[in-house]
Amino acid sequence: MRGEIRVVHYINQYFAGAGGEDRANIGPQSGESPIGPGVGLQRALGEAAQIVATVFCGDNYMAEKGDVAAVEIAHLIGEYSPQVVVAGPSFGSGRYGLACAQVCYAVQRELKIPALAAMHEESPAVDLFRRRVVIIPTGRTAAGMAAALGAVARIAVKLGRGEALGTPDLEGYFSRGERSNEFSETQGAVRAVDMLANRFQGKAFQTEWPLPTYDAVKAPPAVTTRRPIRLGLVTEGGVVAKGNPDRLPSGWANKWVRYSLTGIEDLTATDFETIDGGFDTRAGNDEPDRLIPVDALRELEKEGKVQLHGELYSTVGNMGSISNMRRIGAEMAYELRRAGVDAVLVGAT
């Protein structure tokens, strides 16, 4: 029995050697030894830990059943009483990456033991799960397997021992996207002059406050239809029906509202207003078309240049958290896509 640390390894059907896409629907299965990349992982773990079981599952099974499957797998894993669970490495894969992250998250919740995944930063699972699961960065493809396994083994042993991990940049995992204070050994002024000195000398330096990276969304192709463009209307400037019957908040919004534009030729001050707390609302209240130009669009519609979607979607961007705004945007997009619009005009304040 190597070391005291028991590890269970989660992989997908492909890395388990069970087959490719044709077997992506298989449900959870297990074996009491390292399988596939688990063999390399066990080598990397050395005497410090033992892979007591491998659990694998089809990527489509996971994609379709989501968290329900992840919980099922967590309980299967639990039968082997591990101290730590490793999922992947899944490299650039989308479904496999999500499956790994979901399994880890379920293991943490259901079994209350640590888990870690490993994947390339562009995998969608990173953005969705980095706050909840320790995820180690890897290369894009399995060509980086050896390096990935080394990093995974090092952190798996630490977690298995119950040791606290250092900060993401020191330990080598994706930051949870959170920040908190600490005391440095040196004054900020000294660190600032040091950082500039490193820049002069062309030496590597690390910013203490990385700029946000936003998803790069590939631009949809130009709308080239000959018929009038079907246009959705969205505002984040808090345009609401007068009196704000749906109680859209003036900031920190976690919801959005929709108003029928049937029979409405322009947004009037009697029927609409803005309740956004992030800017001076006088101009928008006097003339709500200044926030979303229904009047101009109706004019163009009469000339056959555009066809307005039947509803105005509205939310408040003021002080909005990124995660809420992401979700609101996704919900609006889903509805607009279902309604068959060609494009969306978004008015922002």
Partner: protein, 450 residues
């Protein structure tokens, strides 16, 4: 440009700073400094400060690092200084006529500061008024000022003077009195600073520093560094630097100043802003970035000067401020620049615009910036530019700290924000602790990704 700044000619900005260390302080019959102990004649000092009829009384206290004591309602903090080579030239524009500072010989008392406290008077603005300091316990580590002996001066307003002021509009009267009282407190702090530092006449200093940006041939090989200091609430030789106009007024254009002027009393705090980033006079007299650049001048860099900038109130004004600030840095011969910003929304935009312009000109930048995220997943940036790749964080001031109850509170009974009992246990954001996220890097606090 006047080369005598650097060539050591007539009127060069060559400052001899003599430090007299204070290891303890106490009230006594005579104001004197002996073997590191400062004694203060409270009667004499009180009499000096009460020359200003804004005050009904002033009360002194001495608190030491590690003592179970908490100061609240802090207005400004000043280091005792006097310019012995030009008597009567201290804090020009405020205590006396304009005189260029930053040259000659200045005496300072080290290890001690004068801390002005007062309850806000009716009519005083209370937003950003609260500033506190714990001398021991969990809160002490969050301010660089807790490591100093604080001579606390508590001011009491002369309400009789308020009653005697005639005005048709009661609101005006109160606001005018509050503004006058606030300024009177600051001037009194400066007077006390000079009074105490004057005791060093004839004494031998513990340390002597020469602060001079000497010019020599080796400097040509070193990268030129300019420091861009963003200010919001500061007197420059007695004139308030940013205009106090309404929203929509353009910000003033930036200006150039010699670093020694900043260190020698040209800049004095003018009004209260957030405690965590308050432009306390003490922190300008001992400006961390300027001190560090001075230290490395001639060794690894050529410190070319300081640009004072503020921020514009609208887009076009911001472009003007940022553009001109970058121009001045370039004009001074910057190969690199350190930029500090008060943080928050408005001011950070100007910082970022300036950074962008400098980087695009090939001038490397490093920014010093406090964080203000309330949501853990918030990046904390209100605005940023891709060029801002080198940032030193001075900490997130929205992060909260739990402070233990204290045996002694000076300055007031209740916090201005939230009215909590000032002597009890407190749960406050770092925003309320003076200098906690000092944007000039005086402290060691920083933010880090988790």
């Amino acid at each position: 440009m006047n080369d005598s700044w650097k060539h050591g000619g007539e009127g060069s900005s060559h400052l001899e700073l003599l430090t007299y260390e204070v290891k303890d302080a106490a009230m006594d019959h005579q104001t004197a400094l002996q073997a590191g102990t400062l004694t203060i004649n409270a009667v004499e000092l009180r009499s000096l400060l009460l020359e200003d009829s804004y005050f009904d009384d002033v009360v002194f206290d001495v608190v030491r690092p590690g003592e179970d004591a908490r100061l609240v309602h802090i207005i400004d903090v000043v280091e005792p200084r006097t310019r012995v080579s030009e008597p009567g030239s201290d804090f020009p524009g405020l205590l006396g006529a304009f005189r260029t500072v930053g040259r000659g010989t200045t005496h300072r008392l080290g290890g001690i500061c004068i801390t002005e406290v007062s309850e806000p008077v009716p009519g005083a603005a209370t937003l950003w008024r609260e500033a506190m300091l714990d001398m021991s316990g969990a809160g002490a580590q969050y301010s660089p000022l807790s490591r100093l002996i604080n001579l606390v001066v508590e001011f009491r307003p002369n309400l009789e003077r308020l009653r005697q002021t005639e005005s048709a509009d009661k609101t005006d009267t109160l606001a005018a009195f509050a503004a006058g009282y606030d300024k009177a407190i600051r001037l009194a702090g400066l007077k006390a600073a000079v009074y105490l530092a004057s005791i060093t006449a004839g004494l031998r200093p513990d340390r002597r520093e020469t602060l001079r940006l000497a010019e020599n041939d080796s400097l040509r090989a070193l990268p030129g560094v300019v420091y861009l200091l963003q200010l919001q609430a500061t007197y420059l030789y007695g004139e308030i630097l940013p205009p106090t106009g309404s929203v929509g007024e353009p910000g003033p254009l930036p200006t150039i100043i010699h670093p020694n002027e900043v260190l020698d009393g040209a800049l004095v705090n003018a009004f209260t802003t957030m405690a965590c980033t308050r432009e306390a006079t003490y922190l300008m007299q001992n400006h961390a970035v300027i001190r560090e650049l001075h230290r490395r001048h001639g060794e690894s860099l050529d410190f070319r000067g300081v640009v004072l900038y503020t921020y514009g109130e609208n887009n076009s004004s911001k472009e003007r401020v940022a553009g001109h600030t970058a121009n001045l840095a370039d004009l001074l011969g910057a190969n690199g620049a350190i930029l500090s910003s008060l943080g928050g929304g408005h001011a950070t935009i100007d910082l970022m615009l300036t950074c962008e312009k400098l980087e695009r000109r090939g001038i490397a930048t490093t920014l010093l910036l406090p964080e203000m995220a309330t949501d853990p997943e918030d990046s904390g940036f209100v605005h940023f530019v891709r060029e801002a790749q080198a940032i030193v964080s001075t900490g997130n001031y929205e992060q909260r700290v739990q402070l233990e109850p204290t045996g002694k509170v000076i300055g007031g009974m209740q916090l201005i924000d939230g009215h909590q009992n000032a002597s009890g246990s407190l749960d406050v954001p770092l925003r309320l602790i003076i200098g906690s996220t000092n944007q000039w890097g005086a402290s060691q606090l920083r933010g880090r990704a988790r």
